[in-house]
């Protein structure tokens, strides 16, 4: 396949520092070398490319925007660019890194005790440990406050009961950040692999994010030491703050999927000859390409501004909702449009477009569905919550 070319119609590279461009180019090269060659097979055979994890750690891609504990301590534009480049490879790879950094390392970094930070963060940063985030339950997705999983104190231990579902990295994790009710308050618990009463099941038959491990977590009188409670998180705000981090990464990440689809569609339109001319010469095809480039450029601008707000500490969860909602919606539309433009070739894995299109159905749904983000914005605009 031809080498990927990113889109930069508004010369946004001029707004990046030398270091940011270097970080972006390094991750792009890593994805070309180590993700692109294997990802189609991973998708077809329903497995995560475990072999890339040590390099993810070595490069510093895990928890890259956290400080200390062997993390790279990058600004949020650099972090966003990493997500973009990884998701250009595959949403499953970006999901792995998002979960590890935004949903496992972040809560330990923010809400954990010093002992928890020392024990887990350097291991998670190097990829020697893998983590997952257990919030969603079989019967509680958009409404996490209704969760059934709960913990009770018993001597020096907590005893957990309940089930979590749709958990990225679940089966391959060494530690799970599990949200459960303790005395009716939502609290975070670190459940290590091998804890008595803790088991996982791989979720099969997905047509999306097949290069990512999705699991159920089961807690049946699961016993963990009391020291594994995250002391700093109390209430639903704990997990929701983590989700804001991950959603931020998604807003950037899907720009990568969209760029991959646009790149494939553009090249195809110039090489595919029908009626004695490249199909890129037809108005209907040009209209599709123009729409794709417009929406990619707008999404890039949203991301850059959101990063500035995040770096200055002014970013709100609602602003993240707007970017996540908009960018994922348009990335999926771009993928569908690119699929269409590729004709019959678009339904094969000869091109990355179909895989991105299928992946984005999950991305549109997880970390707050499109519709839930609509309601978050509706709440913000009117002051009236529609989901309560």
């Amino acid at each position: 396949m031809e080498q990927f070319e990113g889109s930069d119609f508004y010369n946004l590279d001029d707004l990046l520092t030398e270091e940011q461009r270097l970080i972006r180019d390094t991750v792009r090269e890593f994805v070309d070398d180590q993700v692109v060659p294997c990802i189609e097979d991973c998708f077809m055979t329903d497995r995560f490319p475990l072999q890339i994890i040590p390099t993810l750690g070595e490069l510093g891609l895990l928890g890259a925007n956290l400080n200390g504990y062997d993390c790279a301590g990058l600004d949020n534009i650099s972090y966003g660019l990493i997500m973009q480049e990884l998701e250009r490879g595959d949403s499953g790879v970006r999901s792995f890194v998002s979960v590890q950094g935004g949903l496992v390392m972040y809560p330990i970094h923010r809400y954990g005790s010093d002992e928890q930070k020392d024990k887990f963060l350097p291991q998670l940063a190097s990829g020697k440990m893998i983590g997952c985030f257990g919030l969603t339950e079989p019967d509680h997705g958009s409404d996490p406050s209704g969760m059934i999983t709960h913990a009770v104190e018993d001597g020096d231990e907590y005893v957990l009961n309940g089930n979590k579902m749709w958990i990225t990295n679940g089966c391959i994790s060494d530690v799970a950040v599990v949200w459960a009710k303790l005395d009716d308050r939502i609290r975070g618990f670190l459940v290590e692999k091998g804890s008595p009463g803790f088991t996982t099941t791989k979720q099969e038959k997905k047509f999306s994010l097949r290069a990512s491990t999705t699991s159920e977590l089961h807690f049946q009188d699961c016993r963990i030491p009391k020291a594994n409670l995250l002391p700093g998180a109390d209430g639903l705000a704990g997990p929701l703050t983590c989700l804001t981090q991950a959603r931020y990464g998604i807003a950037w990440g899907v720009v990568g999927s969209a760029m991959a689809c646009f790149d494939a569609a553009k090249k195809y339109s110039l090489s595919r000859i029908q009626f004695d001319r490249p199909i890129g010469g037809f108005q209907l095809v040009q209209a599709k390409l123009a729409e794709m480039l417009s929406e990619i450029t707008k999404a890039q601008l949203l991301c850059l501004r959101l990063a500035q707000l995040k770096d200055s500490g002014k970013m709100t969860a609602q602003q993240v909702s707007l970017s996540k909602r908009n960018n994922v919606y348009w990335a999926l539309e771009i993928a569908r449009s690119a699929r269409d433009l590729l004709g019959a070739n678009g339904v094969t894995h000869e091109y990355p477009v179909g895989r991105h299109m299928l992946n984005l159905e999950s991305v549109k749904t997880y970390e707050g569905t499109h519709d839930i983000h609509t309601l978050i914005l509706g709440h913000e605009i009117t002051g009236i919550p529609a989901y309560k």
Binding site: T26, A72, S78
Partner: protein, 249 residues
């Protein structure tokens, strides 16, 4: 162990090149630059030599415009200690480039100076040899392995049908071949640290050019193909044409 690596930035092979209106150069305004791939092998080997010896320093040197600092930072991100930019806004020919590099290298007393075997844009494969001559040091190009014991260096080269082994005293100038190693990615933390590493900018003496580029032209468009027939009946004619006209079988 004191090591210098001379590198050149070149247009990324994915970049579509267009000619400048003067017909003698490339329009660089839209070009994406990268470290010339053979130079990456040189940088990687320099880092490995330093790591094997447990001490020493690696300096990366380039001749070019001020915007070459991005590629220098990439080398610093890979773990190079410091960098020198021999600043020149004008394009230089090989002997001018070699003079610029030699003027920096002659006072440094490096044990090893590494180049890539050739830059992948101009493909001249001249500068390493020219610099070695100007410094009056031995030069070995296309090296596939290098090891250093005391002040002795042992080098292996891929040659027709086998390997050539060369030994001699330091200091030495070498050109890296691609079989030498597998270059590392710069680590993100090192890229951030590289911001604080020094890049010394010097204005070198380059002297007069020895060569002048008269014209750059794109390759002629490929002539249209010829269809000799269709189906199994065409095979005989196709073989005849390939054998007698194209002379490829």
């Amino acid at each position: 162990m004191k090591i210098a690596v001379c590198m050149k930035r070149v247009p990324d092979t994915a970049t579509r090149l267009t000619f400048a209106p003067d017909g003698q150069s490339i329009d660089t305004s839209e070009v994406q630059w990268v470290i010339s791939p053979y130079d990456e092998f040189a940088i990687e080997e320099a880092l490995r030599i330093r790591e094997r010896h447990g001490e020493g320093s690696v300096t990366v040197i380039t001749v070019g415009t001020e915007s070459s600092t991005k590629e220098l930072r990439q080398a610093l991100g890979m773990g190079v200690d410091d960098a020198v930019l021999a600043s020149s806004e004008e394009p230089l020919d090989p002997i001018q480039t070699a003079r610029a590099l030699a003027s920096i290298l002659e006072s440094r007393a490096d044990d090893v100076v590494l180049f890539g075997r050739q830059a992948v844009d101009s493909q001249g494969a001249q500068v390493g040899a020219l610099v070695a001559r100007l410094l009056d040091r031995p030069f070995v190009n296309d090296i596939a392995a290098i090891s250093i014991e005391g002040d002795q260096v042992r080098i292996e080269r891929e040659v027709e049908g086998g390997r050539e082994v060369i030994e001699g005293p330091l200091p030495i100038v070498v050109g890296a071949d691609k079989s030498l190693n597998d270059p590392r990615y710069p680590k993100l933390k090192e890229i951030m640290k590289a911001k604080k590493k020094p890049i010394e900018i010097v204005t070198p003496e380059t002297g007069a050019p020895a060569l002048e580029t008269i014209a750059l032209t794109p390759p002629p468009p490929r002539p249209e193909g010829r269809i000799v027939g269709e189906g199994p009946d065409a095979v005989e004619e196709l073989i005849r044409v390939l054998r007698e006209e194209a002379k490829v079988i």
